[in-house]
Amino acid sequence: MTNFGYTILIPILPFLMFLLLGLAGNKLKAKLSGLLGTAGLAVITLLSYFTAYKYFFAGEKAADGFHKIQAFNTVWLNISDKLHIDLGVLLDPISVMMLVVITTVSLMVHIYSLGYMKGEKGFERFFAFLSLFSFSMLGLVVATNIFQMYIFWELVGVSSFLLIGFYYTKPSAVRASKKAFIVTRFADFGFLIGILILSFNTKTFDFISLTDPTGPTFTQSTSAAFMGLSVMTWSMIFVYLGGVGKSAMFPFHIWLPDAMEGPTPVSALIHAATMVVAGVYLVARMFPIYAITAPVALHVVAYVGAFSSLFAAVIACTQTDIKRVLAYSTMSQIGYMMLALGVSGYGGHEGLGFMASMFHLFTHAFFKALLFLGAGAIIHAVHSNDMTDMGGLRKYLPITHWTFLIACLTIAGIPPLSGFFSKDEILAAAFEHNKILFAVEYAVAGLTAFYMFRLYFSIFWGKDTHYHHTPHEAPATMTVPLIILAAGSVLAGFIPFHSLVTSDGKPFDSEIELMVAIPSVLIGLLGIGAAYVMYRSANELPNKVAGFFKYGYKWAYNKFYMDEVYLFVTKKIIFRYISAPIAWFDRHVIDATMNLIASTAQNVSFRIRDFQSGQIQKYAFVFVSGAIGLAIIFIYFWK
């Protein structure tokens, strides 16, 4: 087996870069620190490509598929012989694929940010945070054990928090970052519980032994049950809860749209391409356990994914803030991936869903990053997030226009763009396993095409808007990443995923099923057509349609009042009936006890400080009387 030890550099380098930029950033020139961060990431990108080449194509493939390789491992926290937490690098098809995705998108975002963030206050801080995020995300995907994953899981949460709140003088950004952090943190609590249950039952944190189908997880797992479900199922559901939070699935999705308060490159990197798919990656990482010992949990994954994708797609059709539309679209696409995992089986052709999910993750990263970066370029030019302020931009932003169009076509699933292939695999997998979910996803495919082209037509066609100053195309640092990502979106579909990334490492045959493909393309075209009719040029049709779905439209426009529900639950129920009494108890019992002790001490001190009067003769008098008293005691009473 070839030596992969150098892969430890992949997470280490961004960390060093973070330390450098974070500690010395304000000493460096802003431009230099940006270039440094980008250069560091370029090196890592090359390393990741090299690793991918070596892993997939350079003779690593054994007769029975790809093996998991533990390239590096060190004991980080040694509690006892049985309980120790390791840090290391694990290479297998999905982690290598993720390395490629993360480094590519991150590099593109770094380059793009050089232009987009130019002249912003805190330019070097931005790059420091980006490096921190890259470090955390890379550490997450190469985690050798579930605890390492948890550590980096929290670290990406922190870097996400820092980047959403990058404009920390803006109250809405501060609120959004807090919301994102608290909501995901709440979900991560479930993840932690899941880890504890799981490792208590399997006596290991290590992924290799956890997911080995012949290992102790599957042979020795206890049959203990709770509320009709086995312990393993419960632990997997809890673990999935963490994924729900991070991947913004219903009902923990509320943070993602608000997270768009962050700079647009951040939205592209974290809230579209990499961090939000961590939940998918988590389920994929634990997939053998889900598929073999906890099928019920896998059903939960599938239904939550399907519901979220439909839910988000409906909301996306009504929003006018372009970044929010993209955020809901992200949520919807991640729902797709979750669903694909949920309908998948383990091994061989049964694992089609797993492969499809990873495939879609891969292609989605490209086209969604492209969409966000394109949106960034538009916002850069128009200085507004709202699509009602836009229109006719195709004349001013030609490169952005074409790349955006490619991305929209890709997400709509038009062949031969990459989105078609991966979405088709997902639909095929759903079709084979669950017709209801297939129907949902089929509808979502149409909705996706509709809302994406609603966005496209509103921005680039539609009414002719008069701008205060003529919008101009973004600089090369911003357009080059767009072009590269567009190329990626076009070509990524031709990667033979079914022979590279599969549930058990073994390749299987897969071909496009016309039964599924043709209708899905048709509904995509239908969605595009509807959008064309309604938004190609300004007309009354959208309002009429909205009037037709009067209440439905209103509900969807207000995101089904999920934020309000949360506010009701937290403010009216949790704050009033749980937090308020606790606060009362804290203030009136615990604090009061402390205050009593403190005030007693203070009162006593005030009383006795008069002893220290500065009158030497008083001291002397006390001393003499004491000496005489002691003499009397010792002479007469101490016998």
Binding site: Q612, S613, G614, Q615, Q617
Partner: protein, 105 residues
């Protein structure tokens, strides 16, 4: 020359002198008179030393030498104390001990 006088007489005399000094130390306000009280106390101790030496250990000289050293120490103490008193007088323009009470809470 001390024949016919019991040792207790000397000791009682020293005791009275000692407590007169204590009384002065406790009641006087003027720093110089307090210093005088201290001299009384030291002097009474010297009397004790001499009496013990003469009556109990007439063939030794410890008591006498101790008295000599006490006198030397008393001289040092007086010198330094008076320097301090003069300094205090400059600082507070008084040597009333009750007015010199900066060192309190």
């Amino acid at each position: 020359m001390s024949a016919g006088i019991p040792v207790q007489f000397f000791l009682i005399l020293a005791t009275v002198m000692f407590f007169a000094g204590i009384y002065g130390f406790l009641t006087r306000r003027n720093l110089i008179t307090i210093l005088m009280s201290v001299e009384l106390i030291l002097n009474s101790v010297n009397i004790n030393f001499m009496a013990f030496n003469r009556y109990l250990y007439p063939n030794k000289l410890e008591g006498m030498f101790f008295s000599i050293f006490v006198i030397a120490v008393a001289a040092c103490e007086a010198a330094v104390a008076i320097a301090i008193i003069i300094n205090i007088y400059r600082r507070f323009t008084t040597i009333n001990v009750e007015d010199v009470n900066e060192m309190k809470f």
